[in-house]
Protein backbone atom coordinates (compact mmCIF):
# COMPACT_ATOMS: atom_id res chain seq x y z
CA UNK A 1 0.00 0.00 0.00
CA UNK A 2 2.95 2.32 0.55
CA UNK A 3 3.46 4.89 -2.20
CA UNK A 4 6.45 7.22 -2.60
CA UNK A 5 6.01 10.48 -0.71
CA UNK A 6 4.88 13.27 -3.02
CA UNK A 7 6.41 16.75 -2.68
CA UNK A 8 4.89 19.34 -0.35
CA UNK A 9 3.90 22.79 -1.65
CA UNK A 10 3.06 25.99 0.21
CA UNK A 11 0.03 27.88 -1.12
CA UNK A 12 -0.27 31.68 -1.25
CA UNK A 13 -3.45 33.45 -2.36
CA UNK A 14 -4.15 37.04 -3.40
CA UNK A 15 -7.67 37.52 -2.12
CA UNK A 16 -8.38 40.93 -3.65
CA UNK A 17 -6.88 43.28 -6.16
CA UNK A 18 -4.21 45.40 -4.47
CA UNK A 19 -3.53 42.97 -1.61
CA UNK A 20 -0.42 40.83 -1.22
CA UNK A 21 -0.43 37.06 -1.66
CA UNK A 22 -0.92 35.52 1.77
CA UNK A 23 0.05 32.06 2.99
CA UNK A 24 -3.06 29.88 3.40
CA UNK A 25 -1.72 26.36 3.85
CA UNK A 26 0.05 23.51 2.14
CA UNK A 27 -0.69 20.49 -0.02
CA UNK A 28 0.93 17.52 -1.73
CA UNK A 29 1.25 17.28 -5.51
CA UNK A 30 3.59 15.57 -7.95
CA UNK A 31 4.37 18.76 -9.89
CA UNK A 32 3.66 22.50 -10.08
CA UNK A 33 0.71 22.20 -12.51
CA UNK A 34 -1.07 19.67 -10.30
CA UNK A 35 -0.21 21.75 -7.23
CA UNK A 36 -1.94 24.80 -8.76
CA UNK A 37 -5.05 22.80 -9.62
CA UNK A 38 -5.18 21.21 -6.18
CA UNK A 39 -4.69 24.63 -4.55
CA UNK A 40 -7.68 25.94 -6.50
CA UNK A 41 -9.84 23.02 -5.36
CA UNK A 42 -8.70 23.00 -1.73
CA UNK A 43 -8.32 26.69 -0.93
CA UNK A 44 -10.62 28.65 -3.26
CA UNK A 45 -13.97 26.84 -3.29
CA UNK A 46 -15.80 30.04 -2.33
CA UNK A 47 -14.14 32.69 -4.45
CA UNK A 48 -11.33 33.34 -1.94
CA UNK A 49 -8.77 34.25 -4.56
CA UNK A 50 -7.79 36.13 -7.73
CA UNK A 51 -4.35 34.60 -7.99
CA UNK A 52 -2.47 31.62 -6.52
CA UNK A 53 1.24 30.99 -5.97
CA UNK A 54 2.53 27.53 -5.16
CA UNK A 55 6.09 27.19 -3.86
CA UNK A 56 7.92 23.93 -3.09
CA UNK A 57 8.15 23.82 0.71
CA UNK A 58 11.75 22.67 0.39
CA UNK A 59 12.60 26.01 -1.29
CA UNK A 60 11.73 28.02 1.82
CA UNK A 61 14.49 29.10 4.17
CA UNK A 62 13.13 29.94 7.59
CA UNK A 63 14.54 31.66 10.65
CA UNK A 64 14.95 29.52 13.74
CA UNK A 65 12.20 30.33 16.27
CA UNK A 66 14.47 29.33 19.16
CA UNK A 67 16.85 32.10 18.12
CA UNK A 68 14.21 34.76 17.73
CA UNK A 69 15.64 36.74 20.65
CA UNK A 70 19.00 37.26 18.95
CA UNK A 71 17.47 37.54 15.47
CA UNK A 72 15.16 40.43 16.29
CA UNK A 73 17.19 42.13 19.03
CA UNK A 74 18.42 44.93 16.71
CA UNK A 75 14.85 46.20 16.30
CA UNK A 76 13.88 45.75 19.96
CA UNK A 77 16.32 48.36 21.25
CA UNK A 78 15.64 51.12 18.70
CA UNK A 79 12.58 52.89 19.99
CA UNK A 80 13.67 56.03 18.10
CA UNK A 81 12.47 54.32 14.93
CA UNK A 82 8.89 54.95 16.02
CA UNK A 83 7.15 58.32 15.55
CA UNK A 84 5.96 58.32 19.18
CA UNK A 85 9.60 58.72 20.31
CA UNK A 86 9.55 62.36 19.24
CA UNK A 87 7.91 65.24 21.11
CA UNK A 88 6.03 67.70 18.95
CA UNK A 89 4.22 70.58 20.77
CA UNK A 90 0.45 70.34 20.62
CA UNK A 91 0.18 73.80 19.00
CA UNK A 92 1.86 72.41 15.90
CA UNK A 93 -1.18 70.22 15.29
CA UNK A 94 -1.31 66.89 13.49
CA UNK A 95 1.96 65.76 11.99
Amino acid sequence: MATPNSPLWEVFIRSRNGLAHKHVGSLHAADATLALQAARDIYTRRGEGLSIWVVPSSAITASDPSEKGMMFEPAESKIYRHPTFYDVPEEVGHM
Binding site: M1, A2, S6, D41, R45, P65
Partner: protein, 330 residues
Protein backbone atom coordinates in the same frame (compact mmCIF):
# COMPACT_ATOMS: atom_id res chain seq x y z
CA UNK B 1 -15.23 17.19 12.08
CA UNK B 2 -15.57 14.74 14.74
CA UNK B 3 -12.71 14.39 17.11
CA UNK B 4 -13.84 14.63 20.67
CA UNK B 5 -14.37 10.90 21.06
CA UNK B 6 -10.94 10.14 19.69
CA UNK B 7 -8.62 12.43 21.57
CA UNK B 8 -7.34 10.00 24.14
CA UNK B 9 -3.65 9.59 24.79
CA UNK B 10 -1.67 6.56 25.88
CA UNK B 11 -1.12 6.45 29.60
CA UNK B 12 2.39 5.06 29.61
CA UNK B 13 4.08 7.67 27.44
CA UNK B 14 3.16 10.63 29.56
CA UNK B 15 6.69 10.93 30.90
CA UNK B 16 8.53 14.21 31.05
CA UNK B 17 11.82 13.90 29.22
CA UNK B 18 13.26 17.26 30.06
CA UNK B 19 11.91 18.98 33.15
CA UNK B 20 13.23 22.46 32.36
CA UNK B 21 12.02 22.52 28.78
CA UNK B 22 8.71 20.98 29.80
CA UNK B 23 8.21 23.71 32.39
CA UNK B 24 9.03 26.41 29.82
CA UNK B 25 6.62 24.74 27.39
CA UNK B 26 3.83 24.66 29.98
CA UNK B 27 4.49 28.31 30.81
CA UNK B 28 3.96 29.20 27.14
CA UNK B 29 0.70 27.24 27.08
CA UNK B 30 -0.46 28.91 30.29
CA UNK B 31 0.29 32.31 28.74
CA UNK B 32 -2.00 31.33 25.83
CA UNK B 33 0.86 31.31 23.34
CA UNK B 34 0.51 29.13 20.24
CA UNK B 35 2.95 26.27 19.74
CA UNK B 36 4.36 26.09 16.18
CA UNK B 37 5.86 23.08 14.35
CA UNK B 38 9.52 23.95 14.95
CA UNK B 39 9.07 24.76 18.63
CA UNK B 40 10.16 22.30 21.28
CA UNK B 41 7.26 20.20 22.59
CA UNK B 42 6.98 17.16 24.86
CA UNK B 43 6.91 13.85 22.94
CA UNK B 44 3.51 13.03 24.42
CA UNK B 45 2.06 16.36 23.21
CA UNK B 46 3.30 15.57 19.70
CA UNK B 47 1.92 12.05 19.86
CA UNK B 48 -1.47 13.06 21.25
CA UNK B 49 -1.89 15.75 18.60
CA UNK B 50 -0.72 13.53 15.75
CA UNK B 51 -3.32 11.00 16.77
CA UNK B 52 -6.10 13.50 17.32
CA UNK B 53 -5.53 15.53 14.14
CA UNK B 54 -4.99 12.51 11.89
CA UNK B 55 -8.10 10.78 13.26
CA UNK B 56 -10.01 13.98 12.71
CA UNK B 57 -8.71 13.98 9.10
CA UNK B 58 -9.69 10.32 8.60
CA UNK B 59 -13.18 11.17 9.91
CA UNK B 60 -13.60 13.87 7.28
CA UNK B 61 -12.57 11.50 4.52
CA UNK B 62 -14.65 8.52 5.72
CA UNK B 63 -17.50 10.98 6.39
CA UNK B 64 -17.78 11.48 2.63
CA UNK B 65 -19.04 7.90 2.23
CA UNK B 66 -22.45 7.94 3.99
CA UNK B 67 -23.38 11.20 2.27
CA UNK B 68 -21.87 10.31 -1.08
CA UNK B 69 -24.33 7.42 -1.02
CA UNK B 70 -27.17 9.90 -1.78
CA UNK B 71 -25.60 12.27 -4.33
CA UNK B 72 -27.01 10.45 -7.34
CA UNK B 73 -30.42 10.05 -5.66
CA UNK B 74 -30.90 13.58 -4.30
CA UNK B 75 -34.53 14.66 -4.88
CA UNK B 76 -33.73 17.79 -6.92
CA UNK B 77 -30.86 19.46 -8.75
CA UNK B 78 -30.65 22.09 -6.00
CA UNK B 79 -30.28 19.41 -3.32
CA UNK B 80 -27.80 17.48 -5.44
CA UNK B 81 -25.57 20.50 -6.06
CA UNK B 82 -25.63 21.39 -2.34
CA UNK B 83 -24.82 17.83 -1.24
CA UNK B 84 -22.00 17.55 -3.76
CA UNK B 85 -20.55 20.84 -2.51
CA UNK B 86 -20.81 19.60 1.09
CA UNK B 87 -19.02 16.34 0.31
CA UNK B 88 -16.28 18.31 -1.52
CA UNK B 89 -15.92 20.46 1.61
CA UNK B 90 -15.44 17.34 3.75
CA UNK B 91 -12.63 16.27 1.45
CA UNK B 92 -11.07 19.73 1.70
CA UNK B 93 -11.36 19.60 5.50
CA UNK B 94 -9.61 16.23 5.52
CA UNK B 95 -6.77 17.71 3.48
CA UNK B 96 -6.34 20.80 5.71
CA UNK B 97 -6.19 18.46 8.69
CA UNK B 98 -3.71 16.02 7.14
CA UNK B 99 -1.48 19.00 6.35
CA UNK B 100 -1.71 20.14 9.98
CA UNK B 101 -0.94 16.61 11.26
CA UNK B 102 2.08 16.34 8.97
CA UNK B 103 3.69 19.40 10.57
CA UNK B 104 4.22 17.15 13.62
CA UNK B 105 6.55 14.90 11.64
CA UNK B 106 4.54 12.02 10.13
CA UNK B 107 4.19 11.73 6.35
CA UNK B 108 0.82 11.82 4.59
CA UNK B 109 1.39 8.29 3.36
CA UNK B 110 2.03 6.97 6.88
CA UNK B 111 -1.11 8.66 8.18
CA UNK B 112 -3.31 7.36 5.37
CA UNK B 113 -1.86 3.84 5.64
CA UNK B 114 -2.59 3.81 9.38
CA UNK B 115 -6.26 4.44 8.58
CA UNK B 116 -6.43 1.91 5.75
CA UNK B 117 -4.82 -0.81 7.86
CA UNK B 118 -7.31 -0.14 10.66
CA UNK B 119 -4.57 0.97 13.06
CA UNK B 120 -5.88 4.51 13.30
CA UNK B 121 -9.54 5.29 14.03
CA UNK B 122 -12.12 7.63 12.63
CA UNK B 123 -15.30 8.86 14.29
CA UNK B 124 -17.71 6.03 15.09
CA UNK B 125 -20.68 8.04 13.76
CA UNK B 126 -19.74 7.14 10.18
CA UNK B 127 -20.27 3.47 10.87
CA UNK B 128 -24.03 4.03 10.75
CA UNK B 129 -25.87 3.69 7.42
CA UNK B 130 -27.79 6.38 5.51
CA UNK B 131 -31.00 4.50 4.78
CA UNK B 132 -33.24 7.29 3.47
CA UNK B 133 -32.91 10.82 2.10
CA UNK B 134 -33.95 12.14 5.53
CA UNK B 135 -30.66 10.76 6.89
CA UNK B 136 -28.84 13.38 4.81
CA UNK B 137 -30.91 16.02 6.57
CA UNK B 138 -30.26 14.45 9.98
CA UNK B 139 -26.51 14.25 9.34
CA UNK B 140 -26.27 17.92 8.38
CA UNK B 141 -28.47 19.08 11.23
CA UNK B 142 -27.22 16.79 14.02
CA UNK B 143 -23.83 15.33 13.07
CA UNK B 144 -22.50 18.61 11.72
CA UNK B 145 -24.21 20.46 14.55
CA UNK B 146 -22.38 18.29 17.09
CA UNK B 147 -19.17 18.69 15.11
CA UNK B 148 -19.46 22.47 15.25
CA UNK B 149 -19.83 22.30 19.07
CA UNK B 150 -16.60 20.31 19.18
CA UNK B 151 -14.71 22.39 16.69
CA UNK B 152 -15.35 25.93 17.79
CA UNK B 153 -13.23 25.51 20.94
CA UNK B 154 -10.54 23.81 18.82
CA UNK B 155 -10.04 27.11 16.94
CA UNK B 156 -8.28 28.22 20.16
CA UNK B 157 -6.26 25.01 20.54
CA UNK B 158 -2.65 25.55 21.66
CA UNK B 159 -1.19 24.00 18.48
CA UNK B 160 -1.08 26.71 15.80
CA UNK B 161 -1.53 24.65 12.61
CA UNK B 162 -4.50 22.74 14.10
CA UNK B 163 -6.18 25.92 15.36
CA UNK B 164 -5.75 27.59 11.95
CA UNK B 165 -7.15 24.57 10.11
CA UNK B 166 -10.16 24.56 12.45
CA UNK B 167 -10.88 28.23 11.74
CA UNK B 168 -11.17 27.45 8.04
CA UNK B 169 -13.27 24.36 8.73
CA UNK B 170 -15.67 26.18 11.07
CA UNK B 171 -16.25 28.94 8.51
CA UNK B 172 -17.36 26.36 5.97
CA UNK B 173 -19.25 24.13 8.36
CA UNK B 174 -22.24 26.34 9.09
CA UNK B 175 -23.56 25.87 5.54
CA UNK B 176 -23.55 22.12 6.20
CA UNK B 177 -25.73 22.37 9.26
CA UNK B 178 -28.14 24.82 7.63
CA UNK B 179 -28.59 22.69 4.52
CA UNK B 180 -29.34 19.69 6.75
CA UNK B 181 -31.87 21.61 8.82
CA UNK B 182 -33.54 22.87 5.64
CA UNK B 183 -33.94 19.28 4.40
CA UNK B 184 -35.50 18.30 7.75
CA UNK B 185 -37.81 21.32 7.70
CA UNK B 186 -39.00 20.57 4.16
CA UNK B 187 -39.74 16.96 5.10
CA UNK B 188 -41.38 17.94 8.40
CA UNK B 189 -43.73 20.30 6.54
CA UNK B 190 -44.39 17.77 3.80
CA UNK B 191 -46.76 14.82 3.59
CA UNK B 192 -47.36 12.49 6.54
CA UNK B 193 -44.97 9.99 4.96
CA UNK B 194 -42.24 12.60 4.60
CA UNK B 195 -42.68 13.72 8.19
CA UNK B 196 -42.50 10.09 9.34
CA UNK B 197 -39.29 9.69 7.36
CA UNK B 198 -37.77 12.74 9.12
CA UNK B 199 -38.86 11.40 12.53
CA UNK B 200 -37.39 7.99 11.73
CA UNK B 201 -34.05 9.56 10.83
CA UNK B 202 -34.02 11.56 14.08
CA UNK B 203 -34.86 8.37 16.01
CA UNK B 204 -31.91 6.52 14.52
CA UNK B 205 -29.30 9.33 14.68
CA UNK B 206 -30.05 10.94 18.04
CA UNK B 207 -28.20 8.54 20.37
CA UNK B 208 -25.18 7.92 18.08
CA UNK B 209 -24.81 11.72 17.77
CA UNK B 210 -24.78 12.13 21.57
CA UNK B 211 -22.03 9.47 21.66
CA UNK B 212 -19.91 11.58 19.27
CA UNK B 213 -18.90 13.74 22.25
CA UNK B 214 -17.08 10.77 23.75
CA UNK B 215 -17.35 8.91 27.06
CA UNK B 216 -18.80 10.64 30.13
CA UNK B 217 -16.34 12.78 32.08
CA UNK B 218 -15.94 10.39 35.00
CA UNK B 219 -14.93 7.57 32.61
CA UNK B 220 -12.55 9.65 30.49
CA UNK B 221 -9.14 9.29 32.15
CA UNK B 222 -7.18 11.05 29.39
CA UNK B 223 -8.81 14.46 29.51
CA UNK B 224 -6.50 15.93 32.15
CA UNK B 225 -3.38 16.27 30.00
CA UNK B 226 -5.33 17.50 26.99
CA UNK B 227 -6.94 20.15 29.18
CA UNK B 228 -3.60 21.11 30.74
CA UNK B 229 -2.14 21.49 27.24
CA UNK B 230 -5.16 23.51 26.07
CA UNK B 231 -5.91 21.05 23.30
CA UNK B 232 -9.27 20.51 24.93
CA UNK B 233 -11.12 23.47 26.41
CA UNK B 234 -14.42 21.87 27.46
CA UNK B 235 -15.21 18.41 28.82
CA UNK B 236 -17.18 15.83 26.84
CA UNK B 237 -20.23 16.23 29.07
CA UNK B 238 -20.13 20.04 28.91
CA UNK B 239 -20.13 19.98 25.10
CA UNK B 240 -22.81 17.29 24.99
CA UNK B 241 -25.06 19.36 27.27
CA UNK B 242 -24.53 22.48 25.14
CA UNK B 243 -25.51 20.50 22.05
CA UNK B 244 -28.64 19.05 23.65
CA UNK B 245 -29.73 22.47 24.93
CA UNK B 246 -29.29 23.97 21.46
CA UNK B 247 -31.00 21.11 19.63
CA UNK B 248 -34.17 20.54 21.70
CA UNK B 249 -35.83 23.84 20.62
CA UNK B 250 -34.84 23.14 16.98
CA UNK B 251 -36.56 19.74 17.14
CA UNK B 252 -39.62 21.44 18.63
CA UNK B 253 -39.65 23.92 15.76
CA UNK B 254 -39.55 21.03 13.31
CA UNK B 255 -42.43 19.37 15.15
CA UNK B 256 -40.31 16.24 15.65
CA UNK B 257 -39.90 14.28 18.87
CA UNK B 258 -36.48 13.52 20.36
CA UNK B 259 -36.47 9.78 21.09
CA UNK B 260 -35.88 10.21 24.82
CA UNK B 261 -39.16 10.08 26.77
CA UNK B 262 -37.26 10.56 30.04
CA UNK B 263 -35.85 13.95 29.03
CA UNK B 264 -36.70 16.78 31.44
CA UNK B 265 -35.78 20.44 31.74
CA UNK B 266 -34.09 21.38 35.01
CA UNK B 267 -34.58 24.62 36.97
CA UNK B 268 -31.64 26.25 35.12
CA UNK B 269 -33.20 25.48 31.74
CA UNK B 270 -30.84 22.61 30.81
CA UNK B 271 -32.39 19.58 29.14
CA UNK B 272 -31.41 16.46 31.12
CA UNK B 273 -31.18 13.43 28.84
CA UNK B 274 -31.43 9.78 29.85
CA UNK B 275 -28.54 7.37 30.31
CA UNK B 276 -26.56 6.73 27.09
CA UNK B 277 -25.99 3.10 26.04
CA UNK B 278 -22.19 3.03 26.13
CA UNK B 279 -22.02 -0.66 25.28
CA UNK B 280 -23.22 0.25 21.78
CA UNK B 281 -20.49 2.93 21.53
CA UNK B 282 -17.82 0.41 22.56
CA UNK B 283 -19.13 -2.15 20.09
CA UNK B 284 -18.97 0.33 17.21
CA UNK B 285 -15.47 1.49 18.24
CA UNK B 286 -14.38 -2.14 18.40
CA UNK B 287 -15.35 -2.56 14.75
CA UNK B 288 -18.79 -4.09 15.17
CA UNK B 289 -20.98 -1.19 14.04
CA UNK B 290 -23.40 -1.61 11.14
CA UNK B 291 -20.97 -0.31 8.46
CA UNK B 292 -17.39 -0.59 9.83
CA UNK B 293 -16.31 -3.21 7.29
CA UNK B 294 -18.00 -1.43 4.36
CA UNK B 295 -16.39 1.90 5.16
CA UNK B 296 -12.85 0.53 5.36
CA UNK B 297 -13.39 -1.62 2.28
CA UNK B 298 -14.62 1.43 0.32
CA UNK B 299 -11.60 3.51 1.39
CA UNK B 300 -9.18 0.70 0.52
CA UNK B 301 -10.79 0.20 -2.87
CA UNK B 302 -10.62 3.93 -3.66
CA UNK B 303 -6.98 4.04 -2.55
CA UNK B 304 -5.99 1.02 -4.62
CA UNK B 305 -7.92 2.10 -7.69
CA UNK B 306 -6.33 5.55 -7.50
CA UNK B 307 -2.80 4.12 -7.30
CA UNK B 308 -2.21 4.38 -11.07
CA UNK B 309 -3.06 8.10 -10.99
CA UNK B 310 -0.51 8.76 -8.25
CA UNK B 311 2.08 6.65 -10.08
CA UNK B 312 1.43 8.36 -13.42
CA UNK B 313 1.68 11.83 -11.89
CA UNK B 314 4.95 10.93 -10.16
CA UNK B 315 6.38 9.35 -13.34
CA UNK B 316 5.43 12.41 -15.43
CA UNK B 317 6.99 14.79 -12.89
CA UNK B 318 10.18 12.66 -12.82
CA UNK B 319 10.34 12.61 -16.65
CA UNK B 320 9.98 16.39 -16.89
CA UNK B 321 12.57 16.87 -14.16
CA UNK B 322 15.12 14.65 -15.90
CA UNK B 323 14.49 16.44 -19.22
CA UNK B 324 15.08 19.78 -17.51
CA UNK B 325 18.32 18.51 -15.97
CA UNK B 326 19.48 17.17 -19.36
CA UNK B 327 18.72 20.48 -21.09
CA UNK B 328 20.54 22.42 -18.39
CA UNK B 329 23.59 20.19 -18.89
CA UNK B 330 23.74 20.88 -22.65
Amino acid sequence: MYTQALNSSDGEDRFVEDATRAAAFQARIDADERIEPNDWMPAAYRKTLTRQISQHAHSEIVGMLPEGNWITRAPSLRRKAALLAKVQDECGHGLYLYAAAETLGSSREELVDAMLSGKSRYSSIFNYPTLTWADIGAIGWLVDGAAIMNQIPLCRCSYGPYARAMIRVCKEESFHQRQGFEIMLTLARGTEEQKAMAQNALDRWWWPVLMMFGPPDQASQHSDTSTKWKIKRFSNDELRQKFVDATVPQAEFLGLTIPDPGMTQDSEGHWRYSEIDWTEFKQVLAGNGPCNRDRLAARRKAHEEGAWVREAAAAYAAKRESRRTAQAAE
